[in-house]
Subunit: 263 residues, 3 copies
């Protein structure tokens, strides 16, 4: 039996029934659809963070999975609801950049604007396209509907790019892409980039008045209280502290920066 | 294959293993039952809020879904565990009003008191009927058991009604039914009721010393800082503020009221 | 159709995508695996609490369920990833005591160290064995793989025992095993142990300067403000307060103690 998997990512939180209602709506389209939660705790309306989380997660799912992603400050306005087919997956969500890093990474094959009102859950609330447009579209795709039946082809998507490393007089400026629940800080540099930059020398990563100079292979190698770099599970280097929140120690937020230099 | 869907609504929270244990218990009855979470964050023992959330959600699920709802301050005392068959669904929970608005809306066909101890998970803890009575009852129903096998028919249920609009000298008194995670305030008035009340004129909704006079079609139409009415996804008008919590601005709670008048 | 159920218990929280990624990884091994959440809110790195929650939950799941438990302060270091077959279930997790109470209770049949890198998700991050080792191992077991194919047999596991009752001059010293979301305090004594200890007399349980002297059959029997014992759903006596958090009233934490004496 072919499994019809829909993975969900939203900023709806888990207190209200919104996510449950989306699942009910999908099951009403096809009761054999299987919903898997990626997260519903994207910070409200934080498209950049949602995009990073979707980009970081999608590749672990089986080929054919449909992703239904809703972080949608413009709900009910002129932004388009879209469905995107990539090399291995399909994605449904608002065209506001949320899907872009993931679909661009997996190679975009086709994009449609979800304008076929026959698949909408009616009446459509202007405040809850998650229930009325995105959930049924995702369920129909999972159940086998062709992408083009959702609406007309559109050429491109709103872009959203993660911040790049910037060469400055003082060193390489790095940006904090994401901070997880434990306070680990994801940097926009991969380990191989660091190695190339260092050419065998040591490093100094300066954040405000604090300096990080060690790279650890796993958490238990670090001293208590030490801030260190580690090769994180998202594929980027992360700043961590053993049994503590590095983000709390440094008092930083996503989007803040540090300066990396050779020693 | 017939899908055996059980939708769950409780006030058990998601920190403890209680909900996981309920799911295990259902899977032990029939391993092909599929559990879908509506919410587990009903405020503890808040039957009124749970009843509103169940009422607002049930209709989005496929016909045949079994709802297992547990907000049960009287657990272990004389209140009855009941199962209700309606036009399209079945519901399991305590007879304390929690199920009433939903089952009444979908039309009650049969009610039984769950007294058949053969289906109980044993031993029955007086503090956790969710695990020992409601979960197995819901799973047996989903797996095809007839309602009457759960216990003797009972005639009626404890009623729970949402607060009604009240005509006062100053205007129409509206009550706040629900406040969502984002601080949107659900009023006990639908848009068509408002239109009928206004007969083409403008409106003033007074909450304490603040006045709301605008109705928006979607969030992005509103000014920053503006409090406005919007036709919400629950089917009622809601008070919202763009990118802010209306409930925080107004400092109100469910059950609080406002006065609506024509302008 | 045989259901392939994997029950998950972690300390990853529900804010990040870590749990969603683990589920994606399992579905990539076998898309018909069904993941059930036990909890993801074990206090970070609190192996003792996780062990109690797993021990208290496992028996409600159908025979054959695979448990994937990850509370793993030593991730990436020399602690072993293990898989354990018991009388009725299989368990996957770090060999740090987390699995011990559950597998010991259900009777250990075989233990293997998960060293077969063919089943790992590659590349293996030193910080996320949940994704790269435990999730695929659990999915392979659920899908039918023999335990021995995961790696070489190992003789024993790191033990973790719950605190025992201690006879002291002042009475029987009891330890608080667990405190749930509602503030109910689980004691390391069962009702039949209490009855045996009391030999028909009354009791006094002293915690700091407060005394508990009543045992209730259900919550609604208690007075408002009263602290009382009740036979809890975990199979142990619990300290509760009606509509209040007993733990807040007593200002205690797991691991704290009280003194029980006959009256």
């Amino acid at each position: 039996m072919l499994e019809k998997i829909v993975a969900l990512l939203t900023d709806f939180g888990s207190r209200d029934v919104f996510v449950g209602i989306m699942k009910g709506t999908m099951l009403s389209v096809d009761a054999s659809v299987r919903c898997v939660d990626l997260t519903h705790a994207v910070p409200p309306q934080d498209v950049q963070t949602g995009a990073f989380e979707l980009y970081s997660s999608y590749r672990y799912f089986p080929v054919g999975t449909v992703f239904c992603a809703v972080v949608d400050p413009g709900v009910g306005s002129e932004r388009k609801p879209v469905a995107v087919e990539t090399s291995r997956y399909r994605f449904v969500g608002p065209d506001n950049g949320l899907l872009f890093p993931a679909v661009n990474d997996d190679k975009i094959k086709r994009i449609v604007s979800i304008e076929n009102e026959d698949i909408y859950q009616r009446p459509v609330a202007t405040t809850f396209h998650g229930r009325d447009i995105f959930a049924p579209a995702a369920a129909h795709l999972a159940a086998g509907m062709e992408l083009e039946r959702l609406g007309p082809v559109q050429k491109s998507l709103i872009r959203l790019d993660f911040p790049e490393q910037v060469q400055t007089a003082g060193g390489l400026k790095l940006t904090f892409l994401y901070i997880d629940t434990f306070g680990n800080i994801v940097l926009n540099i991969r380990r191989e980039d660091l190695n190339r930059f260092l050419t065998g020398r040591g490093f100094d990563l300066r954040i405000g008045s604090l300096h990080i100079t060690s790279l650890r292979e796993h958490y238990t190698q670090a001293e208590m209280g030490e801030l260190f770099l580690i090769d994180g599970s998202f594929g980027y280097l992360e700043i961590s502290a053993r049994d503590q929140s590095a983000a709390d120690i440094l008092n930083v937020e996503p989007g803040d920066t540090g300066i990396l230099s050779r020693q």
